[in-house]
């Protein structure tokens, strides 16, 4: 028999990603900490290594008060950073 699919199409069209950098030398690194346990440690260590190995820096950290809501400070993070590291979920 014929049945109708209960699944729906996605509403969103793919957006363009920001252009990639040729190198991370002197890139301002923004960390958006989602507040989950040890997110700060993981993201912080990755950022330290980006500085050590790829010459990135300086590094600045913003923290979301709760993981479940989008960051209110996102515009500020984007304006102050060339690349941003963030975490998803646990």
């Amino acid at each position: 028999m014929d049945v109708l699919s209960p699944l729906a199409a996605r509403a969103i069209d793919g957006k363009r990603l920001a252009p990639r950098r040729a190198s991370l030398r002197s890139c301002r690194v923004g960390i958006l900490d989602n507040g989950k346990p040890n997110a700060d440690v993981l993201l912080g260590r990755v950022a330290e290594l980006l500085v050590e190995r790829a010459g990135a820096g300086p590094v600045r950290v913003w923290r979301k008060p709760a993981a479940a809501y989008p960051a209110a400070v996102i515009d500020e993070v984007v304006a102050a950073s060339d690349v941003v590291l963030t975490g998803s979920a646990d």
Partner: protein, 411 residues
Amino acid sequence: MLGTDAFLSLARAAAATLGLPHLPVTMVPHPIGGMDAREVRAKAEAVVDHVIAALTSDPQPPRKTDSSAIALIGAPDALDDFQEFALAEGWGDGLPVLPPTPERVERILGRQGAKRETIVATLAPEQGVATLGVIAINAALAGAGPEHLPVIVAALRAVADPAFNLNAVQTTTHPCTPLVIVNGPIARRLGINAAANALGQGHRANAVIGRAVRLVLQNVGGARPGETDRATLGHPGKYTYCLAENEAESPWESLAVERGFGKDESCVTVAGSEAPLNVNDHGSTAADALLLAFVGTVAATGTNNIYLGGEPLVILGPEHARTFAGSGWSKRDLKRRLWEGARVRLDRFSRENLERFAAIDPGRFGGRPGDAEVAVARRPEDIMVIVAGGPGKHSAFVPTFGATRSVTVRI
């Protein structure tokens, strides 16, 4: 974006929600929470080359999304075979479903068929477009009829309200799911149970309305258990969770009336809710005494509400409601007395949790001594109270997700 491998599909869905399905995602082995810092730093060291590559090499071009019309699909004729088919397609919830044939769907749409392309809501986490037509298809799967469609539609409009925070409710490890509470004349007209066993089985309207809403959230919103729906344990309300308030036996104004709607307006409220915890009190005969059973149950350390806020819900059986009202208490009085009485000492939480809570809510948790107390909600009016159920001296406490607000809409 960085995450742990256990949450890869959720991370990808989050990126897709923002129109960036091709955002580079770097994974480390799960977990990182609860580990010592040295081990977490080692995980970071293992993936930093991947991060450098992700930040410096060209991304894949964006995938075209397919916004074609609803698909007509060939399925097995035999009902038993159709169940296997629907399971394999991921359309159902594990219980039997009815085939969403064009005839069945047309019957559900009725005169609304002309408006089947109307967009009712866009649903997180995958931003699926819920048209009237696709809602009717899911209603067909759930065994609902045309009379149930307006309630299902209203509930979906409500969960799509930004205040509800559907993306978080759909994807969290917390077990929450929308509890659908119906007020007004439509409840009696459709036979939505408000009385004995209102949260249990037996009434078709409760069963199919709640189920249709859940199937739309899965099939259109895209939250699938083990993938984007990360619930650690979940609860049976994720099959169906719908009741009407027992307005006939409530001594007070209904939830909808509290929120400014008329007694004769039919409304739906959705609240991101856990399973109910029973409150048994067979002895108390006055409000002050009966309050104790509630205070003791509601002052719990393991809810989301205690540190995230939001609106914990109390469902009073009619006998308990009459005991409170019989002592002259209004609903407001009950909320205030509950809020004042249900307090948790800070030294009942672990040190690690107090640190986490203090980062989220420094006012209530930061720099206070162990014998200081917190209330179960930020304000008395954040405690929701409805009356439902049949005879018997039981009520229920329903903690909610916390990072969500309940939403009431007119049907």
